[in-house]
């Protein structure tokens, strides 16, 4: 059973990562920096619980705030450039963060053991959960409480005026600007929210793996972050969850019996999925169909 709880933990954290890219994608911006914010959150939360002795909740709050702050700081220069330039800028930023942690040493001796991040070797011994006697199931529930919370907030945001503004900017920047929407404010705020979610996800990730290193936050993770909302479709937050379950549950775990070939299939299946369903799994017609089936008359509109 613990295996499935562990899998649910992974899916939960990856859903958070995907949601952080989702909100940025709503404004039509493609950010490859989410893995960078995720790394910032992971290292910050880990250092706070291990080195400063904080409890998990304040540490997660701090990592989330830090992620937001970094995202906001990156957003301003990066969003001066549009569209595809942003992909490049954020890709470079994500790599820069990874390289920063590759060169980052901050170790403190604690009871004969040196703790803290050590460059290429990474940051070991983030043992808050085991030390406090949390079971795998408790950790899993803890993670999913955050996932559900974040999804609820995003779902509500989507239906608010702010969500309409985000989608308006995503659909057509020029039209949005001409009705008086401040493009910079909208994009930077979406980026900041995305950074907060990624920082939170990173903080949780650091604690359930207990060992983080720079290599885990590379371009592959940034790709995953983008892949979930794009594969799932931007119509609804649930698409991201479906895609995270599909990728982590089926592509990564379910195909493990294929051994070496699994990694080969992974890339090929992304290519195939984008050719067959360019608007994502849950695209507008599918969503309408789901609403008709489950929502009765109300959803038919």
């Amino acid at each position: 059973m613990d295996f499935y709880f562990g899998l649910a933990q992974i899916i939960g954290v990856h859903t958070l990562l995907g949601l952080s890219a989702y909100i940025v994608l709503l404004t039509g911006q493609v950010s490859m920096a989410q893995a960078g914010f995720f790394a910032v959150g992971a290292y910050a939360a880990g250092m706070l619980t291990v080195l400063a002795g904080w409890a998990i909740l304040p540490a997660l709050a701090a990592s989330s705030l830090l992620g937001a702050a970094v995202a906001c700081a990156v957003g301003f220069p990066a969003l001066r450039v549009k569209g595809l330039m942003l992909v490049i800028a954020t890709l470079a930023f994500g790599e820069a963060v990874r390289l920063f942690f590759f060169n980052f040493d901050y170790q403190v001796a604690r009871g004969g053991v040196k703790l803290g991040p050590l460059g290429g070797e990474g940051f070991r011994q983030i043992r808050y959960f085991p030390e406090n006697g949390w079971t795998t199931m408790q950790v899993m529930l803890f993670i999913w409480i955050f996932v559900v919370l974040v999804m609820a907030i995003l779902w509500w945001l989507d239906r608010s005026r702010y969500g309409a503004v985000l989608r308006a900017v995503g659909e057509d920047e020029l039209a949005a600007q001409s009705v008086g929407i401040n493009l910079t404010a909208v994009k930077v705020s979406a980026m900041t929210i995305g950074g907060a979610i990624a920082g939170l996800g990173g903080g949780i990730y650091a604690h359930y793996t207990t060992h983080i290193e720079h290599a885990s936050f590379g371009i592959l993770l940034a790709t995953f972050a983008l892949a979930y909302p794009i594969l799932g479709g931007l119509g609804s937050v649930f698409g991201t969850v479906v895609a995270a379950i599909f990728v982590q549950g089926f592509l990564v775990e379910g195909l493990r019996f294929l051994g070496d070939w699994r990694n080969l299939l992974f890339g090929a299946l992304i290519v195939l999925a984008m050719n067959l369903r360019p608007k994502g799994f849950l695209d507008a017609p599918t969503l309408r169909w789901i609403r008709r089936v489950f929502g009765g008359k109300r959803g038919a509109a």
Binding site: V30, R80, M85, L91, F93, L99, N103, N263, V271, M274
Partner: protein
């Protein structure tokens, strides 16, 4: 001072390969207004295919390897076009972008799968030649890389500005709809662009293999990022920009490697990118604002 000039010249010579990769990104962007993130991986893949010659004819000359890499790069470019661009509706840029990322992972994994992740030796020309001027030396293989890259760029510019295909390519990149109205087959031009950039990429990959001495799948990610940085610094869509920026980035990273070490080097290259984004977001040779 001598160290500085030495590492600068080595870097600028090696930077020619960055310029080639940058041109590939920029050309596809110019014609299709889309980013092909799998380009650097496909280039390295082409270079790997070049090694197949050695498997079939043991002791084949390096030139045959380079030529095979060149052809394989073109073929891979066409495959990327079919897999990631041809069938996906043009109104859906996110899907194409994601598909090229999938392609990047796929090429990477095929290489790892075929070589067990071990770096392979790559043949080079003139690697025993050293030009000396006092303490200052020029490595023969780097010079060869530089000259081949420059020849490729000259060939590309001749193709773009002296042939009908080049005319059609430039027309599509200026205004795809208008070009179509003039009877240019846009789909064909797009496919040809991918083949041409693929050919360039194959050569670039082979040149990188030749100057480093080995090829490894670990090259693809840094190469993708360097190529993209070159594209931005040069100005998206500008070929002269990509050339200048490639040489600039090559020299810059080599000098910083000299003074700050290999692990920190790339951090400063990213910093250079952000300096450009803040102070000159259009790049060195920003194309004039279009009307559409």
């Amino acid at each position: 001072m001598l160290d500085f000039i030495q590492s600068l010249s080595d870097g600028v010579l090696f930077g020619a390969t960055y310029a080639l990769i940058g041109i590939g990104f920029t050309l596809v962007f110019g014609v299709m207004h889309k980013l092909n993130l799998s380009y650097a991986a496909a280039s390295v893949g082409g270079a790997y295919c070049g090694l197949l010659v050695l498997k079939v004819f043991a002791g084949a000359p390096p030139l045959a390897v380079f030529f095979c890499a060149f052809l394989a790069g073109g073929l891979l470019g066409y495959i990327v076009y079919l897999a990631c661009f041809h069938f996906i509706p043009i109104s859906n840029p996110l899907a194409t972008l994601m598909a090229t990322v999938g392609m990047l992972l796929l090429v990477d994994e095929v290489i790892v799968h075929q070589t067990d992740g071990m770096p392979l030796n790559y043949p080079a020309l003139f690697d025993d030649v050293m030009l000396r001027a006092g303490e200052f030396t020029l490595r023969g293989d780097l010079l060869m890389v530089f000259v081949v890259s420059i020849l490729c760029m000259a060939g590309l510019l001749a193709l773009l500005y002296r042939t009908r295909l080049g005319l059609a390519t430039r027309a599509v990149s200026q205004q795809a709809v208008a070009a179509q109205l003039c009877g240019i087959r846009v789909g064909q031009v797009n496919a040809m662009t991918f083949v041409i950039t693929g050919l360039l990429g194959g050569i670039a990959g082979a040149m990188i293999g030749a100057s480093v001495g080995t090829l490894s799948p670990l090259l693809t990610t840094p190469l993708t990022i360097k190529g993209l940085i070159v594209t931005v610094i040069g100005g998206l869509g500008s070929i002269p920009g990509a050339i200048v920026a490639g040489l600039l980035v090559g020299g810059f990273e080599s000098v910083l490697q000299q003074y700050r070490g290999v692990t920190e080097r790339d951090l400063y290259v990213m910093l250079l990118l952000f300096v450009f984004l803040v102070f000159r977001p259009g790049g060195l040779f920003a194309p004039k604002e279009g009307r559409d």
